[in-house]
């Protein structure tokens, strides 16, 4: 009883910042413990040197960073990573934005059905979805390849596994729902009467799309593009399954350094560089987008 009675006045006397700070504490501890500390350790790790005979040395050196900067192999890895992410982003814009608009314009039962069909795959593991592609196109035993070759249409399997194109196709398939979601959110806020108004002013259907709908949907496409780009550049499962160890990207390279070569410092440097590069690109694009649209949509 008395303990309860004591609590109230003491709480009223607390400084104003204490209550929110206390409420944030568990989440803060989680972020610090699970994100910031490992990140800092990874950063430190990248400055150790490594040899296959003696393992990780105690001293600090720029050896790994010098290797990444000097060896064109790493430049190629990063170039490939961002090339794949860029193409996947573009493909998602070209597929996802019209897809969202078409579903948006559908009538009652179909609208819901197609939205579920589009977004449903998000409920399925990326691994499962990517393995689907491997089942269809994986070498001579892939279902599609086998069928086409048995029918005599092809003599060789479609080059899909271990190719950049294959990774791009599978990644696009995985990422399109994010673009649809992002564009969908903007479409919900669109006033359909603005399209009618444009038509009444003499605009053709095509003009309505390009001059009225597209500019208004653009912020959704851009934020979707940023999401898709970041997720594609850091994607692991899909490049690992389709690209394997023959066609590496930055994420699978870091993984290999950690678990196969056991060169943790080099893997840490690759992972850190990937993180910094993605963060720089995303933050830069976001700032550009914000500056361009702030005057219109505020």
């Amino acid at each position: 009883m008395s303990a309860l009675a004591d609590t109230a006045p003491r709480r009223a006397g607390m400084p104003g910042w204490l209550a929110p700070a206390l409420m944030l504490l568990p989440a803060m501890l989680l972020v610090v413990g699970v994100v910031l500390v490992p990140l800092a350790l990874t950063a430190l790790l990248s400055f150790h040197s490594f040899s296959s005979s003696t393992g990780i040395s105690a001293g600090y050196a720029l050896e790994n960073w010098a290797e990444i900067a000097g060896d064109p192999y790493y430049a190629e890895m990063f170039l490939r990573t961002f090339r794949i992410a860029g193409v996947v982003t573009l493909a998602c814009c070209l597929i996802g934005a019209p897809e969202a608009y078409i579903i948006h314009r559908m009538r009652a039962p179909w609208k819901g059905i197609f939205l579920v069909v589009t977004l449903g795959p998000l409920l399925i593991s990326v691994v499962a979805r990517t393995l689907g592609w491997a089942l269809l196109f994986g070498g001579r035993n892939g279902v599609v390849n086998k069928a086409l070759m048995d029918l005599g249409i092809l003599s060789q399997p479609i080059p899909f596994m271990f190719t950049e194109g294959g990774v791009m196709v599978a990644l696009t398939h995985v990422m399109v729902p994010f673009m649809v979601l992002s564009v969908w959110a903007v479409l919900q806020r669109l006033d359909p009467r603005a399209e009618n108004a444009a038509a009444s002013l003499g605009a053709s259907q095509f003009t309505v799309l390009t001059r009225i709908v597209l500019p208004q949907v653009m912020p959704g496409i851009l934020s979707g593009a940023i999401i898709v780009f970041a997720l594609s550049a850091s994607a692991f499962a899909t490049p690992a399954i389709i690209g394997g160890r023959r066609l590496k990207v930055a994420a699978t390279l870091a993984y290999d350094e950690f678990l196969n070569t056991l060169n943790w410092p080099l893997g840490a440097a690759v992972a850190l560089l990937l993180l910094v590069a993605i963060a720089a690109i995303v933050i830069g694009c976001n700032a550009l987008v914000e500056r361009h649209y702030s005057k219109v949509f505020q």
Binding site: D191, A194, A197, A198, S200, L201, G202, V296, F297
Partner: protein, 367 residues
Amino acid sequence: MLARSSTSGIAPMTDPAPAFLALDGLSKRYADHVAVDALTLGVAQGEFISLLGPSGCGKTTTLQMIAGFTEPSGGAIRLEGRDLVAVKPARRGLGIVFQSYALFPHMTAAENVAFGLEMQRVPKAERARRVTDALALVGLSALAERYPRRMSGGQQQRVALARALVIQPRILLLDEPLSNLDAKLREEMQIELRQIQRRIGTTTILVTHDQHEAMALSDRIVVMNAGKVEQIGRPQDVYERPATPFVASFLGKTNVFEALVERGADGAAAVLGTVRCPCPPHLAGAGHVLLTVRPEKIAFADEGLACRIVSRVFQGTYWLFIGETPAGVATIVCQNDGAAQPGEGESVHLTWRADDAALRPLSGAGA
């Protein structure tokens, strides 16, 4: 209401001029109900017409059919004698102001107004001049470079109006364009709208559920109810000579008294106290009739219908009285002309001119 009390008496209720825009038995049926039921209307060139009715009576549907965004289930729309239904909305050349304004949010006021001219491929120099003129017309020259989100409702509404006017539409369609404004701004915009329409002479169809707005602005009013036309006429005719009980009750307050029909030397008359109103022949046989009279047509007198004042409310320019009479509750409106007014609880007599009262049979809607 604006000053338009010049002509009294009854005007013909048929369309005066050959129709510029003709709606012929226009209907719209949805799965389970009829939104617009065989609407027939002729609009003369340069005329300002209002579609007036309660929410859900089919006004917007009618306007959207004229604009081409809703397909009619039946009937015809003709503009200058040519069928309009087959024409695409983009080719109808109508100016539309939507209830929500429907401005393009990613374009400035000037870009919004210029859009229609761009579609018409008007050369750049002329386009700039016409946009400037249109914005000046609605008093928004200073806000040309502003985006819609940064404008008040009234300013957005005026941009929408300028956008519709600048293409010099053959007909201007306005869907409750003032309903989102506060009272003062709405009154200003009504006057502005009427002046603009007078100056440019564009044939205009206004949709509204506000009887004051319809009466203030229109040459003629189309009163609608549940998809059907109740009455078409000039504002004063619709107000003074409502064709149906619905029109009488929808346009302003009205008193409904049950009156006894008496046969006298001067023929049959509806009698309330000592007030006698001549009965038309088809009602002469009835025992009782319903008599309707507007509150402002009732005057206090030494004799007439006995009435005890129950409440008295001062409204600024007029007094509003509620009274009890043997025939039912009476609402009376008196100009505040400085004369002494009866107080609450006082007993008075009410009278009115026979011309100001309308008679109807007791049962059913006598339209």
